[in-house]
Assembly symmetry: C2
Homo-oligomer: 167 residues x 2
DNA sequence: TTTCATGTAACTTTAAATGTTACATGATAG
DNA sequence: CTATCATGTAACATTTAAAGTTACATGAAA
């Protein structure tokens, strides 16, 4: 099954944006995700339309959060991405004429609806601030250097800056 | 997202097998699923290995249930199919070195684990007998002719019998 | 001994997610 | 004012997993 990695990706870069606390370009985010700036823009577009982030063009431009991390839940992000399919389980046919198949689909839909409700309820209880706090706890064993420091220092090193779109 | 339709498919044909109450060939089941006998055999293989159905070669051969419908749950079938991936949501990378990504993955895994547990618990409460009963309730408005009658009559009609594998 | 049926390996097709290329738009530095 | 940096997005290519297909071996029953 080919998965939809957008939620995971977007959460990853959102936490980095919180840590960096400055406009971050698609090129930089692409390095973090080991992908391409265009993919970043395409993925972030939904979040922008939903008002959770804003983007600016030109020098000093990039992406910033539009709301405090504690005000954004994982459910918000999930919804902003427009993800509807949650399960790999599918129906052989939608609107089947066969009554047997209708009974089967009804039973499976029932179970999946309940599981989806639970998952969405869980995502509503977790904010970006929670994830950031968890990350910081994971950083503790490595001393008080912040990831933001490391990244910003990294960017100043010759040959390591995140390049823009390939010409 | 390309779905895994095996559970839906297999449940569909299992109920038909219960209704027909005789060995049913892969060719017949393929007609019901609007697919090909080889796909049927491949999909049913897991159920055979798990002991829920048995298959016989030669004239009068085909598939039969090995256990009473009330003794087989949807969870059993799901497991017998060897389905492990349940969610379309994926991680960008497994075993990420980035602590941010680790925090994100942990949060998402947590939520998905809970949802999976609920879904599996639901599937354990539903037996093939339950699905058959639901199907029969759906049949009521159409009078007392059974689907098995219809199908068996259909097979006797010239030109409508389920053909074997294409030569 | 012919026909019917399953078993399975190997290959092809399909569809969704992701990656890539190309170019338009707009903001800022100098 | 124009070169550079950055986003926005359409169009196309690649990748991968599910499903479909072909081919042939095995075995049971008429």
């Amino acid at each position: 099954m080919k998965h939809d990695n957008r939620l995971s990706s977007v959460l990853h870069v959102l936490i980095h944006m919180i840590e960096l606390d400055r406009p971050v370009t698609s090129a930089e985010l692409a390095v973090m995700l080991n992908t391409n700036p265009v993919v970043v823009r395409r993925t972030m577009a939904g979040l922008r339309e939903a008002g959770f982030v804003a983007s600016e063009k030109g020098h000093g431009g990039g992406w910033v959060l539009s709301e405090p991390p504690a005000a954004i839940t994982l459910f918000d992000i999930h919804q902003a991405l427009g993800i509807t399919d949650l399960f790999t389980l599918g129906h052989r046919s939608d609107n089947p004429r066969c009554l047997v198949e209708q009974a089967v689909n009804a039973a499976l839909d029932d179970a999946m609806t309940a599981a989806k409700a639970l998952l969405m309820a869980r995502l509503k209880t977790i904010t970006l601030a929670d994830l950031t706090a968890d990350f910081q706890k994971r950083m503790e064993p490595f001393g008080q250097t912040t990831l933001a420091d490391m990244w910003n220092r990294h960017l100043k090193t010759k040959g390591h800056s995140a390049k823009g779109d390939p010409k």
